[in-house]
Amino acid sequence: MTVRVGKAAEAPEFPDAAKALVSNTQLRHNVRHATDVIRGKRARVVAEMPDWEELRATAHETKEHTLQYLESYLVQFEEACTRAGGKVHWARDADEANRIIVDLIQYHNEKEVIKVKTMTSDEIQLNQALEDSGITPHETDLADLIVQLGEDQPSHIVVPALHRNKMEIREIFLKKMKLKELGEEAEDLAAAARTYLREKFLRVKTAISGANFLVAETGAVCVVESEGNGRMCLSLPQVLITIAGIEKVVPTFRDLEVFLQLLPRSATGERMNPYNSIWTGITSGDGPQEFHVVLLDNGRTGVLADPESRQTLDCIRCGACLNACPVYRQTGGHAYGSVYAGPIGAIVTPQLQSMQHSLSLPYASSLCGACYEVCPVKINIPEILIHLRSKVVEGRGAPLSERMAMKAAAQSLAGPARFSLAQKLARIGQWPFERDGMLRDLPGMLAGWTDVRDLPAIPKESFREWWRKREKKESA
């Protein structure tokens, strides 16, 4: 089994990727503006819910329970979905999932597919696999379309083109839709996308979707969206293929009551999603006449096996943690080198694929806790980040200079005599860098600090020295 998460294995380390993005002033402006807007909307619609904390707690418990009995709920889903006329496929990793989907499309001799709302397909790099097999994928979610036409990568798990502003999108549309003219208003852009997509909806006979929830009890699949493009994808084609991570299952239809309140308010600051599509298998003469669900593992059972971080799989991909994150706010999603950006990406990517490709991600956080505060399913992201950091350290993945510095610090802090000595030595050692009471141009790792900040010089007398003197005076 080879687990791949997008192109994360080849991605640069987070600090290096972030460096370039932080200097992109337009991108930072776009990301700041967009996250500010969503944060504001979310805060308003969450504040009006008297039982928000109860909903969060219930969602967390439901997810934890489901994960504990995941195997039986998945089998229950398979049985129910099959009874309703669907076909369930099990994929161990990205390659297997891609092969299943390509085979299904080739069986029908189709050369094109329309796609909607599937981050999981980005995770397994499905578009690449389709193109390699001579199949053209058309993204139909507006933001995904912008990313695809712009030959770009998604930068947000709910708003994939969040890093682009209106004028940039207009440029992409003009060029890629081969338009002679296009207005500058959002309505003009939406109209252009509508014209472009309608033709595809009416012509292409196979669709690929993601899933927000799978219902074990009934075999139903649920997709929520804002545009209606999803509804078209889910209802117009003859063949529908849904790809879903195994953690997407919930036990009963009733459970959706909780999640469909939490998700839209957390994701887009809406009370309800404009389109909530829930379908069960196939219905003769209405909608797709062939329906497949590909259940994807791709590293998820590995996460399930770690009790310290299992709750990572509770995630409902609302993106609230991205919008709340002060780190994401500065870099946007591309710095995370994965389709999963922001705080949740920093814990999902390293756990799904082998840690060695994403050693820097658990450190891409100041541990401020804003993500945990807004998470609708109460994933304690900071705690998982710390857990993953300990795995990096245990696996000797931290830089040697850091390991030595931390070892030296631990030894200095082991007892008061050593600490006093270390304080004295530091005071002596700082003289080459001290100017006007500030330390400047420090070497090694500390250069990152003094590049943009001063650091006060270590004072001549520590607190413990002052206290000792005071005690002496008092006893004298």
Binding site: F14, P15, A18, K19, V22, R28, P326, V327, R329, Q330, P362, Y363, A364, S365, S366, L367, C368, G369, A370, Y372, E373, E383, I386, R389, S390, K391, V393, E394, A398, E402, M406, K407, A409, A410, L413, A414, G415, P416, F419, Q423, A426, M438, M445, G448, W449, D451, V452, R453, D454, L455, P456, I458, P459, E461, S462, F463, R464, E465, W466, W467
Partner: protein, 246 residues
């Protein structure tokens, strides 16, 4: 008797904060002890992933403060370390006695403003500080300690002090311990936002219950020659002279 855990970085880098805590507590009529064997709560090691080192420092902390009635800590982030992680660390060690020891010590640990407002029920500590001040609430104070308006109430009771509200006060300053050196570019960008907010208030002084954030914010205020200084909450509360920069 109040036992002061001054925090390792305050001990070495910001001794005035420890002195200020002693001043305020004694002014309120309390006796203060400083157990000289103390070093560090273990946060830097634990949060960076060096859990064995963090564990050793926790065990040392517990040994030093065994039997202490009330432990005062002028650093929200150290208190957050203890409350958020000590129990879990002790449980992971499988040592039941250690777990009991943690459970016994935690209710006796108070962040400085918690000690004054919650434990002693005091907001006016007799301070005089005729300056304009803005308050940065550290992430740990805000989200782990849920410190609420305690520092604000303490500052509002200081004679002569004008408190100016900091915009976007719930946003991290970008320090995050080793984050600032492991991700210097992003940290600097976050700091840029914070400094802009501090300057927009027009305050002379930026205060907080954590010198770690203040070292970070103050480092940029100083580098950019903004003329705004940082000062720990305890130092403002200790002030009676009304003078300028000490």
């Amino acid at each position: 008797m109040i036992s002061l855990f001054v925090a390792c970085y305050n001990d070495m880098m910001f001794p005035d904060t420890g002195k200020a805590v002693v001043t305020v507590l004694e002014r309120l009529g309390h006796r203060v002890e400083f157990r000289a064997a103390q070093t560090c709560c273990g946060q830097m090691h634990y949060n960076t992933g060096y859990h064995e080192d963090g564990m050793r420092l926790m065990v040392h902390f517990l040994k030093v403060f065994r039997g202490a009635e009330v432990i005062c800590v002028p650093s929200s982030s150290c208190v957050a370390m203890m409350r958020d992680h000590y129990l879990k660390m002790a449980a992971a060690s499988g040592d039941a006695a250690l777990e009991q020891e943690v459970a016994a010590v935690l209710p006796r640990v108070f962040e400085f403003s918690e000690l004054l407002v919650d434990k002693f029920g005091v907001t006016d500590v007799g301070a005089f500080y005729p300056h304009t001040v803005t308050l940065h609430t550290s992430c740990h104070a805000l989200r782990s300690l849920h410190v609420g308006d305690k520092p604000v109430r303490l500052l509002k009771a200081v004679r002569g002090l004008t408190l100016l509200e900091l915009p976007q006060s719930e946003e991290c300053c970008g320090f995050g311990g080793t984050f600032a050196v492991k991700n210097p570019e992003v940290s600097a960008a976050m700091l840029g936002d914070k400094v802009r907010c501090v300057l927009n208030t027009g305050a002379e002084v930026c205060t907080a219950s954590d010198n770690s954030c203040l070292m970070h914010i103050g480092g940029a205020l100083s580098r950019q020659r903004t003329g705004v200084r940082t000062m720990h909450l305890a130092e403002i509360l200790a002030s009676t002279g009304g003078g300028g920069q000490s």
